[in-house]
């Protein structure tokens, strides 16, 4: 029973990593850049929601919606102002720019909200369900988290695969020059892609902040970025479904190791998982074989 419970809890937690992984994958697909600032962006938007809900007594849903919209704006502005100028340079440059943004966002959050620990209570209960006299490590809050992430995944699928806008976005990512010749506003599509990705990240931020008391701290979201990145790599960085599978895998493995080995060194497990995966498949488990330019 413990094992089953750990798997359930791992899957539930893994959906959050999946959401962050999804945000990274969306940006990777559209601009071939890993957005290391994602952890900072979702941290800032979660603090905005927390400020509204906890400090100013706004409705939880208002906070969530504002966070997601703020995420869109932040993502779009970042792409337009910071990423566009380094997009076609050496691959090192966007990495450094997004890391700089991560540091800056963390510092700004610290300046505004301080570096203490605050709680952001979720809308739904964190009390575990009982089946008979058995406790199941699953709560209404986690049910909401899983549903929310699945809805986002479904919406993204519909957007990309079934709508003309999604077709234009895919075309811009697949072949910018040809897309531009066919009249697609490629730049606008990239901005939109970053905005959408940051929205998904913002949702994940608000959701995870509710799962533990005292979560709200500018640096608390760093592990989420690392876990999400690992999930995205396992998924091959290129496939949204892979990102979700990767997120769930990371979540479950983490819970099993926490329980059967030790729960002090989560970050080390993630490093080892990433190392093993990359040693076996340098481009991730779910990716097609990459062809390098000769």
């Amino acid at each position: 029973m413990t094992f089953l419970n750990l798997v359930i809890y791992g899957i539930a937690n893994g959906t959050l990593y999946a959401a962050v992984a999804l945000a990274l994958v969306l940006i990777w697909r559209s601009t071939r850049i890993v957005n290391f600032a994602q952890g900072g962006m979702l941290m800032i938007t979660t603090f905005i929601a927390w400020d509204l809900v906890v400090k100013h007594g706004a409705n939880y849903w208002v906070g969530l919606v504002v966070a997601v919209l703020a995420g869109f704006v932040l993502g779009a502005v970042t792409e337009r102002l910071l990423v566009r100028p380094v997009e076609n340079g050496p691959p090192l440059n966007p990495v450094i720019v997004t890391l700089g943004l991560l540091l800056l966002l963390q510092a700004v959050a610290g300046m505004i909200w301080g570096n203490g620990l605050d709680s952001f209570a979720p809308q739904f209960s964190l009390h575990y369900y009982n089946v008979g006299d058995q406790v199941i490590l699953f709560s209404p809050d986690y049910l909401f988290i899983v549903i929310a992430v699945l809805v986002v995944l479904g919406a993204l699928y519909l957007l990309f695969q079934r709508s003309p806008l999604g077709l234009r976005m895919r075309a811009s990512a697949f072949n910018p020059e040809v897309a531009r010749l066919l009249g697609v506003r490629v730049g606008r599509m990239l901005t939109l892609g970053w905005g959408l990705a940051a929205m998904v990240g913002a949702l994940a931020g608000v959701l995870i902040a509710g799962t533990q008391p005292d979560y709200m701290n500018p640096n608390a979201f760093d592990p989420l970025l690392i876990f999400g990145f690992t999930a995205a790599i396992i998924g091959g960085l290129d496939s949204p479904v892979g990102a979700v599978a990767g997120g769930v895998t990371v979540g479950v493995v983490q819970q099993l190791l926490d329980n059967y080995v030790s729960n002090d060194i989560d970050a080390f497990y993630v490093f080892m998982i990433l190392l093993i995966v990359l040693m076996v498949r340098p481009n991730g488990l779910f990716s097609r074989t990459a062809v390098r330019r000769v």
């Binding site: 910071l82 990495v95 970050a267």
Partner: protein, 348 residues
Amino acid sequence: MRLVDRASWQRVPMVLRHGVPAVAGLGIMLLVSQGLSEYRNTQLATIAMYVCAVAGLTILTGLSGQISLGNGAFMFVGAYTVALLLEHHVTTSNGVLALFLVVAVLVAAFAGALVGVAAARLRGPYLAGITLALAVGLPVLPKYSHLQSSLGGHAGISVNAPAPPGDMNYFRWQAWLCLIAAAITLFLLANLSSSRVGRAFRAVRDDEIAASLAGLPVARVQVLAFVVSAACAGLAGGLFGILSLTVLPDLFSLTLSLALLAAAVFGGLGTLSGAVYGSVIITLLPFWSSDLARALSLPDKVQHNLPQAVYGVGLILGMLLFPLGIHGLVRRVGQLGRNTLRTKPANN
């Protein structure tokens, strides 16, 4: 006006060409440290300590083109190596301390080789990601319940460095130790950079396929670059431990690793003089920002986060506006100065 023109300077044997400035620079800095207060000597020691780590990183990222967000983790390895050695072999000899620092370098180099083997297969974001996970994942090891007794857990272990030789001032001794280490590091890296190995690094950075067609073992060259940068970080870590008296996991945060990268970028990636400029900046920035905050009477939480905000803005602006960093600026200013000084011969 130059004392020696560039061409004849290039003919001087490399060991002299780099050795003379290293020894002269070290001598000047040691003299300078005589005149400094204890407080300033500590700052000088910190700068020199960072120079070791940043110089290694700038060789890795600037010369061989591999990014590492994880050199803080190699500093962690070096710091804990020295701390553990000093704990188990109490010594009063500075020679033994130097030996321990060498061991720290070797252990960190070994760790670098392990990571480098994985890293050599990875490119761009994958490499950045695995080293990011390294920076976050390795320094938590002392918190592991079965290692807590030997590695000290959250509280860390104290570093029982031997006393300064003779009646030397403690803080000046720290500065000397770090300055000597930095001079040796810079000398060795300068030689490496202008040697066959350095050319191999550049060739691999510029075009892997062309490099391998020219007969370079690309993967081995990349692993070597990782080992070199990890060794430098290990030395810096050992010194960091001695300077901070206690080593604990929280000293080796992600911010430390990113600060190293920031220093390398500020100074100008791939240049050793840039590593020095960058180290000066990341060491003094917290002091400047607290002075500034006091002058403007900013609230505490703003002051605490000001240095990090500057790192962030600096990384972004550095990439967008000054890709060559301070080194590039200094060179451009120097060039302008020379051009205006030089009397232009009329049509000869």
